[in-house]
Symmetry: C2
Subunit: 349 residues, 2 copies
């Protein structure tokens, strides 16, 4: 794909610190673009809390169809306390992930020696979580009866299909195959959520037959949280459902360099629609607009974007610039823009 | 209730390390009983993997009705790899919790200075998770269609009622009220699971009006895992749903003294049926029968049992014995029985 020299990007800065960190991610993207003979033509989409307050819209279908025409999407963060919880998350972020069939939500975790970890003795940590992105309890299948009365009942339905599980499991096996340790851990809760859990387990067991050199392991999600704290170095590729993936990737960020470094890609591996790249962190409205946010997660998400577009070397350039920046962090406070500038400068060579 | 001098206990040692740790818990219970002028008349129930293999039974209704006649239940652990995942968990453990209406699953976490934590700098950690025990994704409402075919679909339904949520939220507020810090944190995921999440949030906000001196806080479950790692000292009482509670209490155990110390009570606060006490850890079949398991979690669960029966001083005696034992741990390996003996000896005074 690298013969394509002009890539189109849909940019959704979103809420809170989203715009600030997105600015830095784009700055770094520009710094490597020239060097690798590509350009990124950006269209910014004004979506999020402000837009919702002004128009009541979260993501109109026409705009979604515009966004769909791009090569990739860069997203900052979505969510604001002034908007009822769920409105923007479901109506904007999840609408993008679901409509564009981002069934692989990729979340790498790594401990950089100089950043360290809140864990006293983490070992060498370098794993990736392949979180399913289009099913599970996130489908929005549920409802409530007699709301606000003592007889209220509210349900949430986790929907899991062989189609949906098998495709993400295959993706995870392929990733494990390409990594030196060749290990895959399924995380679920199949001793309680027996129907969904057994579908996941059976699927992993079936696909495993095609990957005889992959070591396969299973952990209940509760046990997985323990190992993420006591022995995170044991993990290589983790494959898990949408909700468990949400939970353990925040935990994974916490035990590694923190949520300020955690990048993610919402990937459509079949390329029937653009993939979307965003930091794992949220909109952090308490520090928004103050240049206090660490843009590193957004910048590393831009590297995942390059990787997805086949610009492997450019991706590697950004990662190396981030690593070098991280190695030299002294603990002195830098503004969001200062961190972005420093990384962009290194990335430009 | 302490005028009752002879308490009846139903004992379910269960699988794996369950029988070993239960033996020690009973040993310690006996050590304090005499001293506090009470006796515990035990009936052991042979339930778990062996029974299932022999008879196909997990928990016959007649036996459940027998168990129901006791003052309390002491359980070891349930689950074995030789039994299909879910059979014993759903058919035995969850059947007990649901039928006996254990709607408060109480799980305290504390960092003992001498045991420390895998966290480099945990601070002073002393909180309790009030996990809902009879609703949520644990209700067993779900199913699968076309199992084993490419068209398989599996669902799991989380069921949440105003009735079920309000009673556990009230219990959590009452516990927060009785603690010095008077802080309650609701953990849910109301930006995605909007129906269930909003029911929880509205219920907490409503009950909070009756507890004006309690500080109330809300965290999404993913953010909660971060704070459990980066700032566990911030928590006092956490109230949460059945599945989130399962996940964060294993994490809570991991960041404090480890799963070997984590005790729990499955409590029916209305006392319409006996409450059940069990270590948070599982059956650990890999080390079963080898006297390698730490019985401390089971012993601390026995202390929660005493507390529930109104034997506060006896409970305190066990806790003090455990604390003293923990303070003097040298890291040298002791057998399950040796740890039990040491704690029993201290508890006996
Ligand atoms: C904002 C929220 C809907 C989202 C999620 O739950 O997926 C976030 O937590 C994440 O992990 O990207
Ligand atoms: C064994 C399992 C069914 C159980 C649960 O999920 O509740 C266990 O993990 C626990 O936390 O007590």
């Amino acid at each position: 794909m690298s013969e394509n020299k002009n890539f189109t990007l849909a940019v959704v800065p979103g809420d809170g610190i989203g715009p600030e960190v997105t600015t830095e991610a784009l700055k770094v993207l520009d710094a490597v673009a020239a060097q690798h003979g590509v350009t990124f033509e950006r269209t910014e989409y004004d979506l999020g809390a402000k837009r919702w307050h002004a128009t009541g819209e979260t993501l109109p279908d026409a705009e979604l169809e515009e966004i769909r025409k791009h090569d990739a999407i860069l997203l900052g963060a979505v969510g604001d306390p002034s908007v009822p919880s769920g409105v923007l998350e479901r109506g904007l972020l999840l609408k993008l992930r679901f409509t564009l069939d981002h069934y692989v939500n990729l979340r790498p975790s790594k401990i950089y020696p100089s950043v360290g970890s809140p864990l006293a003795d983490p070992g060498t940590v370098d794993f990736v979580v392949v979180r399913e992105g289009t099913e599970g309890p996130y489908v929005g299948n549920g409802g409530a009866l007699r709301v606000g009365t003592p007889a209220e009942i509210a349900t949430e339905v986790s929907v899991n299909t062989a189609y949906g599980v098998e495709r993400v499991v295959r993706d995870a096996f392929a990733r494990a195959q390409a990594r030196p340790r060749k290990k895959l851990t399924l995380v679920h809760k199949n001793n309680v959520l027996v129907h969904a859990g057994h579908l996941w387990k059976r699927t992993v067991d079936k696909v495993a037959e095609e990957f005889p050199d992959i070591t396969v392991d299973y952990l209940h999600v509760d046990a997985a949280t323990i190992f993420l704290v006591t022995d995170p170095a044991r993990f290589d590729v983790i494959v898990t459902d949408n909700l468990f993936g949400d939970i353990i990737t925040d935990l994974a960020a916490a035990i590694s360099g923190g949520i300020g470094l955690a990048a993610s890609g919402n990937i459509n591996p079949d390329r029937t629609a653009p993939s979307m790249f965003e930091p794992v962190h949220g909109s952090a409205p308490d520090i928004a607009g103050q240049q206090k946010a660490d843009p590193t997660a957004a910048i590393l998400s831009a590297a995942l974007l390059l990787q997805h577009l086949g610009l492997t070397e450019a991706a590697r350039t950004i990662e190396a610039a981030v690593e070098a920046d991280i190695e030299e962090r002294t603990g002195a406070a830098r503004s969001t823009a200062e961190i972005g500038d420093a990384i962009a400068k290194r990335a430009a060579g």
